[in-house]
């Protein structure tokens, strides 16, 4: 119940900035238009590249722009608050509260993601439908699986961002690590270019890394590229990374707690 309250308040906190939200949707849409024409040029020259057709490719572009803020691809979200509290030392207060830090921040981040999904997510998809006639999920199963996949994407991303923020326990400032991991996230999530186009070992590697859960996996589910056991495997891949990362977060938190205590807070 407590965690629902945390999530609701995070949702409300983000909904304060209406003009910023509109400006953001506009910017995502501009990038959507640019990438759509670039992909259309690619698929006109090579109509079956990566097993996608032109409509799949353009749909993929707009899904990427829609998911960008929801999964906080560049970092940020609730974990930025955490990093700031570590830097200022306020984290010491959080540590003696009778609530787990991981659960608290995860709830806050899910609240943030819900707001971003309803605004920055829905906005670009609508623009994509109107301007580029993008594909919608083909069946109720795909739509439901997409919803599940999206939540998992946020959790995986949260796990990575929480680990990044935790580096502040040692470095005091997370910004360097944040930019580095952000660079990998942009490339390996498939935001820049669908991972289905990545050649050879680079493709195999990209599809195995946790970032594939951000855009490629949910987008493929939306496009109906996974069916039956394949669909279960795709979701299982995300669950696996979510569990591994959250466990790592818990471990890092335990290590860090010891360090903070040694320093006297």
């Amino acid at each position: 119940m407590l965690h629902v309250a945390v999530a609701t308040r995070a949702f409300r906190r983000y909904s304060t900035y209406r003009a910023a939200t509109l400006a953001g949707i506009f910017t995502n849409s501009v990038f959507g238009v640019i990438y759509s024409f670039a992909y259309l040029a690619l698929w006109r020259a090579n109509p079956t590249a990566g097993g996608y057709d032109a409509q799949d490719a353009v749909t993929y572009v707009w899904l990427g722009q829609a998911l960008l803020m929801t999964i906080a691809l560049w970092g940020g979200g609730a974990t930025d608050d955490l990093a700031e509290r570590i830097r200022t030392g306020d984290i010491a207060i959080d540590l003696y509260r009778p609530v787990g830090i991981l659960g608290w921040y995860l709830a806050a981040d899910l609240g943030r993601a819900a707001y971003q999904l309803l605004t920055r997510g829905v906005g670009p998809v609508l623009v994509g439908v109107l301007a580029f006639d993008i594909a919608l999920p083909g069946s109720a199963t795909d739509a439901a699986a997409f919803a599940v996949s999206l939540v998992l994407a946020v959790v995986v991303s949260f796990g990575i961002r929480f680990l990044v923020a935790s580096t502040a326990f040692w470095l005091l400032d997370q910004s360097g690590v944040k930019v580095m991991t952000g660079a990998f996230a942009i490339f390996f999530s498939g935001l820049l270019l669908p991972l289905v186009l990545f050649p050879g070992w680079l493709g195999t590697l990209a599809r195995a890394l946790p970032w594939a859960s951000y855009v490629q996996v949910p987008a493929d589910i939306w496009l109906g590229k996974h069916a039956g056991t394949d669909l279960a495997l795709a979701l299982g891949f995300q669950v696996l990374w979510a569990v591994v990362l959250l466990a790592a977060c818990q471990g890092v938190l335990r290590l860090a707690t010891r360090k903070v205590v040694v320093q006297g807070g």
Binding site: A20, A23, F31, G50, S175, A183, L192
Partner: protein, 269 residues
């Protein structure tokens, strides 16, 4: 005039140096920020390269020709962003009242805003863009005039992005939390000019020529460097008009800046 410009430049340098020293207090972060920024743009180019593993050419342009467009647009944006990128934070200064403090100081406001929180992290982008541009230059059939056009392209390109950064940041004098809007034109402008404009509809080319003139930052001069005809059939004179477009953009941006500052009446809190 020249005397005061030199003085402003020196003040700018002093403020910038202050921020460099401040950033160096977290050396690990400083290095990772620079490397990370280079990585973002580096992987961006890897993305283009991967596109070309599925293509012979993009809109009739080979990878090395696209690299010329990519390198020049990225260099121009990187230069402008390094020098005056902080201007995009102007909404924050308005909100926190910091702009009022700045106005009481005997240094022009624009110099202070641009030098504030100066960061060398864009060095990563500049290095990466220079490498790509350098490689692309090996494909150009150089003549003295082309060298001149190449140099003027980089200077004009940086000036055009300077104008876009300042001009669109001024929107924040009216609406404080719309800094994202400027990104559509600055970073969006740099992204769209990485590709041959030929792959976009004619209307977009017209917009990028006459409204948000980023086409002059690289597309037209690059056509000259590559000795290609404009696929849209615009006059050849456009290929040499970048400096004019740059001066007009900067002049327009400074006008907007002035009216923004005049409009500003403090937050009153």
């Amino acid at each position: 005039m020249a005397d005061s410009a030199a003085r402003h430049l020196r003040t700018y340098g002093q403020i910038a140096w202050l921020w460099i020293r401040a950033a160096w207090q977290y050396p690990t972060s400083f290095v990772m920020l620079a490397v990370g920024n280079g990585l973002i743009t580096g992987l961006d180019f890897v993305g283009l390269w991967i596109m070309f593993t599925h293509l012979q050419d993009l809109g009739g342009f080979t990878l090395r020709e696209v690299a010329l467009l990519y390198g020049s647009s990225s260099l121009a944006l990187g230069l402008a962003d390094t020098v005056i990128g902080s201007v995009e934070r102007i909404g924050t200064y308005v909100r926190t009242g910091r702009l009022d403090q700045m106005m009481t100081k005997p240094v022009p406001l624009l110099v202070q805003v641009c030098a504030d929180q100066f960061t060398l992290r864009r060095l990563g982008r500049l290095t990466q863009a220079s490498v790509v541009f350098g490689w692309a230059c090996t494909g150009v059939d150089w003549t003295p005039l082309r060298v001149l056009v190449a140099v003027s392209m980089l200077v004009s390109g940086a000036m055009i992005f300077f104008g876009l950064f300042v001009g669109f940041a001024c929107l924040q004098f009216w609406t404080q939390d719309t800094d994202q809007l400027a990104n559509a034109f600055t970073y969006g402008g740099a992204t769209i000019t990485q590709y041959p404009l030929r792959i976009f509809p004619r209307e977009i080319m017209v917009g990028l020529t006459f409204v948000v003139p980023v086409a002059f930052a690289n597309w037209y001069p690059c056509l000259y460097l590559l000795g290609r005809d404009d696929p849209f059939g615009t006059p050849d004179a456009f290929q040499l008009a970048s400096p004019l477009a740059a001066v007009l953009t900067v002049a327009a941006a400074l006008l907007v800046w002035r009216s923004g500052v005049r409009h500003y009446t403090s937050t009153g809190s």
